[in-house]
Amino acid sequence: MAAAEALGAARYFTRWYKTSRGGRARTSACCSTPTGTGRDCAGAALSTQGHGFAPLRHGNCQSCCRICVITLAEAHPLLQPGKTITSINYQISPNCSRLQNKVSGKSKRGAQFLTELAPLCRIASSDGEEYTIYSCIRGRLIEVNENILSNPALLQEKPSTEGYIAVVLPKFEESKSVTQGLLTPEEYKEVLLKRQNSSSGS
């Protein structure tokens, strides 16, 4: 879960987490984190452990790029051992399929607009459970990951990169506030720890 180090002139990662306060996600009691969100800025660096070469650092670079990538958080039930995904469905209602999302131009006209609670997809597992993945970010839906439709295992093998769910572009005015309701990796760890402690205590 280590955040990637800054590499090159204009890019770094920041990961933010969204946990449900209960009730919203239809998951079992133990660990109900519907989605994790990775916020990418200027592309790249994948999971990094120490590199042999020290990459160049440029001090505090503020994020210049507002693109958000929605991925499953590490503690999501679907990412736990023993879960097999049987289907991924982007048709979230009779009238709305995320696959039909078409954007054009720089301003991404035509994009479906998402609120934090907008469902992105529904994923079913072999044990009969169904999980709804929510956007957690307000903004325009740029694309959903079609690779996981053909290869659902990708979602579990590389949830934070190639197994991403969707790409969302918040409104320019909201780009700073979009992370206000979200947790940093440290805060997320704390939430998880608390949950583990409370469930083991009871």
Binding site: S47, T161, E162
Partner: protein, 490 residues
């Protein structure tokens, strides 16, 4: 097409009685002889009337005679009219007519110095072609001149544009006054801006009839842009138009007003090749929320001193210098600039500094798509590698990539799928987690995304080829394989 014929008679008759000036009548009759337009106004009026009265034979011999040098005749005409009649705009004063606009011009209006304002050009092809006006200010016309006012079938494109006719008349006058040749395609532009407030209001009806043509845009002061009006006029049905706008147009009470004259020198382009010697130097200024993130940039270093500094291979660049006051430089002077740039900073170096044309810049931009580039990338892998794991990369030729717009630029570029080719690769093993890769690629390839895969949105990628998680630590451009700008002898 150089003079009027019998078939033009009905048009001439119609327009003249509607209050249209002779030059506009010529335009509608597709008269293409520029010299005719330069004849003095009075003569043209006289000739037109003769044309209407006379028979065919006579009119062929009538004064559509291009033999006389227009300038001389023009001056002659001007002094006749007398300086006293000129008002502030350098135009003839108006004597208000007893009846409304559609006065019958055959009752010797021509003999007084008063001239009815043309209902089409609003005076631009009348008084504003007078030699005196050349010395005064002018204003842009805000409304389209030709509004479908004739029932006669006349293709709009056949009509001589008012702008063209104006230029035909004014160019020789400017030439004579300023002592320089005129060239329609010159880089030095003189803009004359006309306004006619009277007709401003008359066009508002277009907005009610064709509301979808007039969408307010952020940067524009008024929705009545030229394009919007043109679009609306194309859309509007004739009947609707005629309901709101008199046909033929009424004669305006006032001439249009000349607001200003603007002079603009065309941009010059300086090109060269640069090398960048610092990784902390971005190509363009990096500013977020008004705050600069990295000091300086290639663009600024070049612009400030016409210089750039740089490393390894030199990359072509071009700078547009807007509205320069001096445009001619010798090769020696350009070399001098190059030297000054190279002396002033050790972060960049330039060569082949030269003046180029706008077209050449277009070719450079094309080169961005068509040419190849060579890079050197330092790559990290999560799982260990041995030499044999990366050796196969050297054998891959013409690898086709499908690259979706990288996430790092997606906020400012459209989402698209690009097919690009990696022509060749050459790997250099460093250690279990690192190797260097030299690649020759089609211009426009996103190298970083080819290395790390950009969430699987660039396929294939080095990560997928090696079946590992990979990342790029360093990227250097080794060469840009385009032979532009031309190398100079240094």
């Amino acid at each position: 097409m150089s003079s009027l014929t019998e078939k033009d008679r009905p048009i001439v008759q119609l327009l003249l009685s509607a209050g249209t000036c002779p030059r506009c009548i010529f335009r509608f009759c597709r008269v293409g002889s520029q010299t005719l337009y330069r004849h003095p106004y009075k003569d043209l009026m006289k000739d037109l009337k003769q044309f209407l009265e006379g028979n065919q034979e006579e009119e062929d011999r009538a004064c559509f005679d291009v033999a006389d040098p227009p300038c001389k005749r023009f001056r002659h005409g001007h002094t006749e009219e007398g300086a006293d009649d000129l008002n502030q705009n350098g135009v003839l004063s108006q004597i208000p007519l007893a009846n409304d606009g559609n006065a019958d011009v055959e009752n010797s209006d021509v003999e007084n110095s008063a001239v009815e304002v043309c209902n089409v050009c609003l005076g631009i092809l009348q008084e504003f072609c007078e030699i005196d006006f050349v010395k005064k200010h002018a204003a842009w016309l805000l409304v389209k001149q030709e509004m479908g006012k004739l029932d006669l079938s006349l293709a709009k494109d056949d009509i001589v544009q008012l702008k063209e006719a104006y230029k035909w008349i004014i160019h020789p006058q400017l030439s004579e006054e300023l002592g320089v040749p005129t060239d329609g395609k010159s880089l030095f532009e003189v803009s004359v801006v006309f306004a006619h407030p009277e007709t401003d209001e008359e066009c508002r009806f277009l907005a009610t009839v064709c509301p979808d043509c007039f969408k307010p845009a952020k940067n524009k002061q008024s929705v009545f842009t030229r394009m919007a009006v043109i679009k609306a006029l194309e859309k509007i049905k004739e009947e609707d138009f005629l309901k709101h706008f008199p046909c033929p147009p009424s004669s305006p009470k006032n001439l249009c007003v000349a607001l200003e004259i603007q002079c603009n020198n065309g941009a010059v382009f300086v090109a060269g090749r640069y090398n960048k010697y610092s990784r902390n130097l971005p190509q363009t200024p990096w500013i977020i929320d008004g705050e600069r993130k990295l000091e300086s940039s290639v663009e600024e270093l070049i612009s400030e001193h016409l210089m750039a500094e740089f490393k390894a291979d030199r990359r072509p660049f071009a700078i547009e210098l807007v509205n320069p006051h001096r445009i001619h430089f010798t090769a020696e002077e350009m070399k001098g600039f190059q030297q000054t740039i190279n002396n002033s900073s050790d972060k960049i170096q330039v060569r082949d500094l030269q003046l180029v044309t706008r077209e050449a810049i277009g070719r450079m931009k094309e080169g961005e798509e068509e040419k190849t580039k060579t890079y050197s990338a330092l790559i990290w892998t999560d799982k260990t590698i041995q030499k044999e794991h990366i050796a196969f990369l050297d054998d891959i030729k013409e690898l086709k990539l499908d690259q979706k717009t990288p996430l790092r630029v997606l906020h400012r570029r459209p989402l698209a799928l690009r097919c690009r080719i990696i022509h060749t690769m050459k790997s250099q093993y460093i250690d279990e987690h690192h190797f260097r890769l030299h690649l020759k690629t089609q211009a426009g390839t996103y190298i970083k995304e080819f290395v790390h895969g950009d969430f699987g949105r660039t396929k294939p990628n080095i990560g997928s080829l090696l079946n590992r998680t990979t990342d790029i630590l360093e990227l250097d451009v080794e060469s840009v394989d385009i032979d532009w700008p031309p190398a100079l002898e240094n």
